[in-house]
């Protein structure tokens, strides 16, 4: 990407960000945020970060957008949109001063970045062959910095526990309800029948190709999660009750396999999450395949939120 297209993209991104911040109508702001996320995807591609672009499109724009639209529609009933949205002039002037000075400091910092830039590319390139995977990002996520990925999977679990902790007492152990009152012969129900088989194939493909090309378990898991959410929103299937033992087993299976392989590394290769020589690629593939369903279930249930209707008996 060069010259004019980059500047046009930057203008659009900044303009949309202003629109999101200044919009009075919550739905308009959220819609702007989804468009903003998709435009950012182009910026990531422009920075040669295709894996990040896919994650941003799937999670940053897609799942976060769906989450916020769901929240906006849930809050709409209570006069939410009519709340006065602006503060006094003094606060606004101070806020503008604060944001302009933060931006100025950041621009100055960017100007002081060292030249030539420090880089870990040579280290990654030297050790990539030992992992057996061709995509350096996957090698970083599952070999060089596997601990980060393990902790991230656990952070997602903790976030889900936090969301479930907000369940009203009367609704505990029941199903989160995200179904819309969709007509059983309507477009949503039709799409929810046609799309999931295709989506599942694409998700598995993205998982598999992630070893050597942009892709991987997070992107694949997000597609799986959205397919499941689509089916649940159309009312074709219900969300599992949060007390279900089977559901909890699905949630922890991926991280547990990851920890078990880490311990195997401690026993066999002298360090937690180290892989014995020649076994790196198969172990990485096992971790990815084990993590994807757990991540998909966690992401979908994070979006579905806590169960809230006390009258429905599971």
């Amino acid at each position: 990407m060069s010259g004019a297209p980059t500047l046009a993209l930057i203008a659009l991104i900044l303009g949309l960000a202003l629109w999101i911040v200044l919009a009075r109508e919550t739905f308009a702001a959220v819609a702007g945020f989804i468009a903003y996320g998709l435009l950012l995807t182009l910026a990531w591609v422009g920075l040669s970060a295709v894996d990040v672009a896919m994650t941003e499109a799937a999670i940053g724009a897609g799942l976060t957008g769906a989450l916020l639209i769901g929240a906006a529609s849930r809050l709409r009933g209570g006069g939410y949109a009519e709340v006065r949205t602006r503060r006094g002039l003094a606060v606004r002037v101070l806020a503008i001063a604060a944001s302009v000075s933060v931006t100025a400091v950041l621009v100055a910092c960017l100007g002081m970045l060292p030249e030539p830039s420090p880089t870990l590319v040579p280290l990654v390139a030297d050790n990539l062959a030992a992992t057996g995977v061709g995509n350096p990002i996957t090698a970083v996520l599952l070999a060089f910095r596997a601990m980060d990925t393990l902790l991230e999977a656990i952070v997602l679990l903790f976030a889900l526990i936090a969301v479930w902790s907000l369940t009203p007492d009367a609704a505990w152990g029941q199903r989160p309800d995200i179904s819309h009152d969709a007509h059983p012969q309507g477009v949503l129900a039709y799409v929810a029948r046609v799309l999931p088989p295709i989506g599942i194939v694409i998700a598995v493909y993205i998982l598999w190709v992630g070893a050597d090309a942009p892709g991987g378990k997070f992107q694949g898991a997000t597609i799986l999660a959205s397919m499941w959410l689509l089916v649940m929103m159309a009312g074709l299937a219900r969300a599992p009750p949060v007390g279900s033992a089977a559901l909890r087993a699905w949630l922890v299976a991926g991280p547990l396999v990851f920890v078990a392989i880490g311990l195997y590394g401690a026993w066999e290769a002298d360090a937690f999450l180290a892989y014995p020589d020649g076994f790196a690629k198969p172990l990485i593939v096992v971790i990815e395949i084990a993590l994807m369903p757990s991540l998909a279930v966690t992401l979908a249930l994070l979006l579905a939120g806590a169960p809230r209707n006390a009258e429905a008996v599971p």
Partner: protein
């Protein structure tokens, strides 16, 4: 120099998000503004990664991999924030954090969050 322009764009995004975070009393708008700040920080990180490009790799894969982690964790944090907000709305029947809108309070120093 392309990546530097995107870096300045990221600095602008952080500023815009900060303004929204301070000025808008609605929690859902605050979550949006916080996400804009987050994407700005990610973009700065990606510019640093891009500057580390060498040996045919388009960018330093270590910060890029951390960014994937960051985007996923940001989603999880937003989900927790939204769940808190929805619960607050169910219990209180209102969601603004603006003290002036809470009619029982009398202090007017207007701290929102």
């Amino acid at each position: 120099m392309n990546e530097m322009w995107l870096g300045y764009c990221a600095a602008g995004l952080i500023g815009i998000g900060l303004y929204g975070l301070i000025v808008n009393p609605q929690p859902l708008h605050k979550i949006l503004a916080f996400n804009i700040i987050g994407t700005g920080v990610f973009l700065v990180c990606a510019v640093v990664a891009r500057r580390g490009a060498a040996l045919g790799m388009g960018g330093d894969p270590i910060p890029q991999a951390l960014l994937i982690t960051a985007i996923v964790v940001a989603f999880a944090a937003s989900a927790v924030a939204v769940a808190l907000l929805v619960r607050l709305f169910e219990v209180e029947g209102r969601t603004t954090l603006d003290e002036e809108d809470a009619s029982t309070r009398t202090d007017r120093d207007g701290r929102g969050a």
